[in-house]
Symmetry: C2
Subunit: 414 residues, 2 copies
């Protein structure tokens, strides 16, 4: 690059630094404006309202499976039989953790022995979600990165590994609008994952459907029905489903869902029955009264979209203005149709430097590498951008800085 | 017993059976009247109220340790430093389960290796709480029964076992108004448990303070400060404390607490940070607004007492009317100053029969044996009575049946 152009970049960078910015694109948190959409929850269920449709007093102990009315809404949305869906606490992360804990301590249906008795491995589509990777690290599960493609995990790579190594017990999948690249698994890819032979008899797909209703465009991508595909393939127990209202209502005060085959639902319920007497049914009733039904959820998510879509447009606009179309200048990024993230791939070897430059200019980004197992991105190229939380003007401002830092780090490297 | 007296008992029994009763003394659940005391929670926190005292938006993710204001209230009540107390989800049972899971998977501070790597044992003061025993069974922990005395676990027995066997990793204690016998540990007994030598370097007391504020008389028994005693004895990491609002506000929708030494709090928090992003802070704010402060909790618990005390008096009255004073006719029972249960010891060999007779007359009791490890009461003598849930007239009616069944089973046996 021409030295005067580089000087110009540095001058621009210095002027950003002089602004004393304090902006944050690190985590996929809803903004206050989005949380306000669910403000009615703060006064629900209201005086004297403390029974479910069956007449059960929801204030008291019990009801391990969760409130029937809420389970019905999310069973419809997720396309699973209501008997196989449990409505539980405030975080699907907890359900994923606990499923791993149950598996390590006691095994899953079909396990010859508890997973914790021997070294085990998981396949991790990459880039992926850092908290999935943190769970693997906590449980001592060796992570094997496989590429994540625009239509989901690289099935060829997954199938070749899963059939060859009985220590490979699991695969993470974020099927719809994945974190961070926004990819959605195709029905064909899902069918092949459901049907592929695996060396482990108790192989599980951790199907974290965190963003199934979180559309950013008018195209409301349907969720692939992995339970039905797995049952049709003769592997009904392969998928464990997770979802939640975290990015629908209040992230800290929502409801999480587990679903699986009859055997997996029984397995989860059986271990849960030692751990809990029942979930917070008052909060579940609150959600039923507020969301009403499946269409109520869909309508509510459209209101989120109205707030979120301009922020994602701002990310794309700022990158395009500085760097040209994706791929035209060494950097490329996603234009997701849903979810909470933009996955930005900068010139290999410069991701860490981009994050550093942005931090010095007052823009916090997720650490480079965090989208990869063990926090190690071998190309040092991928950065996850999370534009949901700051107000739109801050997203615009922050992304101007980020785009400049991408160009600057590339110029430094050349 | 005179045959005509026995005939009279049978005649009385038959007339109860003819009533077609359907009464339930099985579980320690608050009554609807008690739940109504917390009705205000159903409309809290109210419109526009969604920040804590530090200005954090409680609707969003985060705040792993729980709401500072709520932690402060319960730190004061439990006599522990607020930094060492976490306010979490809706069930202390879950926290006990998870502490065991963490210990089995990864060990506790001071563990040479994870507990799950070898056979381990727990000391179980008996009679005790069936869900503690169920946890031990789930985790494959061998249970060793030790007597529970009026001033807590039999310290001589506990100390002799704990010093001799390094596989003994833990002891259950319900320190105040224990389930089921209402006993409260003395400061002296607690001090000795805190100080006794143990063969296991990572021995833990699971101190389940479920009833610390649940007084049934004007004597508000103070909670022994086990954290302070353990620290003074040079064993700061020995106790793990558990408590909850389950029987204060709504059992299904309350808040549970974990407390321990700085090392134990750090240990718990570290594992929790993989499992959760934060508890339901909206529900915690609800509780702060409703309970207000430690004195607010105390006043609230007095309102519970007004409802509960007459039911416990009815239990004692019905037993005394039929059987004389405790111990005078082969049966004896507790007159608890707090908690949720009466522990009834009938003529050895007849507890199962009493429960069966009562069931046939339409009165459900907790299964005989459930107060003992593995559900096995070697004397077949102990029955747990839980009079909190039914309205007072039903408690009176049910207890007439129970008292008669106690006499009848004894007459049959003689």
């Amino acid at each position: 690059m021409d030295a005067s152009l580089v000087d110009g970049l540095w001058a621009g960078y210095d002027s950003f630094c002089a602004l004393g910015l304090d902006l944050d694109l690190t985590r996929g948190k809803p903004s206050a404006e989005q949380l306000d959409l669910s403000e009615a929850l703060l006064s629900l269920p209201g005086p004297g309202i403390h029974h479910d449709g069956c007449g059960t007093d929801i204030r008291n102990y019990g009801g391990l499976d969760g409130l029937p009315e809420l389970r019905a809404i999310f069973a419809e949305l997720l396309g699973v039989p209501v008997e196989q869906l449990l409505a539980l606490g405030n975080a699907s992360l907890t359900l994923m953790h606990d499923a791993l804990a149950y598996a390590c301590l006691w095994g899953v249906p079909g396990s010859p022995r508890p997973w914790g008795r021997e070294p085990i491995k998981f396949l991790c589509p990459t880039p992926g979600y850092d908290r999935h990777f943190a769970l693997c690290e906590a449980f001592g599960i060796e992570m094997i990165a496989v590429p994540n493609l625009p239509d989901g995990p690289d099935v060829e790579a997954v199938a070749a590994l899963a059939v060859a190594d009985p220590d490979i017990k699991g695969l993470w999948v974020v099927p719809t609008y994945a974190n961070p690249d926004g990819s959605t698994i195709s029905e064909d890819a899902a069918r092949r994952l459901a049907a592929m032979p695996t060396a482990a008899p108790d192989f599980r797909i951790f199907w974290d459907n965190a963003y199934f209703a979180h559309h950013l465009t008018a195209v409301e991508t349907p969720t692939v029905n992995i339970l039905a595909l797995a049952a049709a393939a003769g592997n009904p127990d392969r998928p464990l489903l997770f979802a939640s209202t975290s990015k629908m209502t209040f992230p800290g005060a929502g409801v999480a869902f587990f679903a699986g085959s009859p055997a997996n639902a029984t397995w989860y319920r059986q271990h849960l029955s030692k751990q809990a007497i029942g979930p917070d049914k008052v909060n579940q009733l609150r959600h039923v009264m507020f969301l009403r039904d499946a269409n109520g959820v869909r309508a509510h998510m459209r209101r989120h979209r109205e707030i979120l879509a301009p922020k994602f447009a701002a990310v794309d606009r700022a990158l395009t203005e500085r760097l040209g179309a994706p791929g035209s200048s060494g950097a490329t990024w996603t234009r997701p149709r849903g979810g909470y993230f933009v996955s930005l791939d900068v010139l290999p070897g410069t991701a860490g430097r981009v994050v550093e430059l942005a931090a010095n200019a007052g823009v916090a980004l997720t650490p480079a590498g965090s989208t990869h197992p063990y926090g190690r991105d071998p190309l040092d190229s991928n950065i996850r951008l999370a534009p949901s939380m700051p107000p739109l003007p801050e997203v615009e401002q922050a992304m101007k800085v980020v785009a400049l830092c991408v160009a600057l780090a590339a110029a430094e490297a050349n």
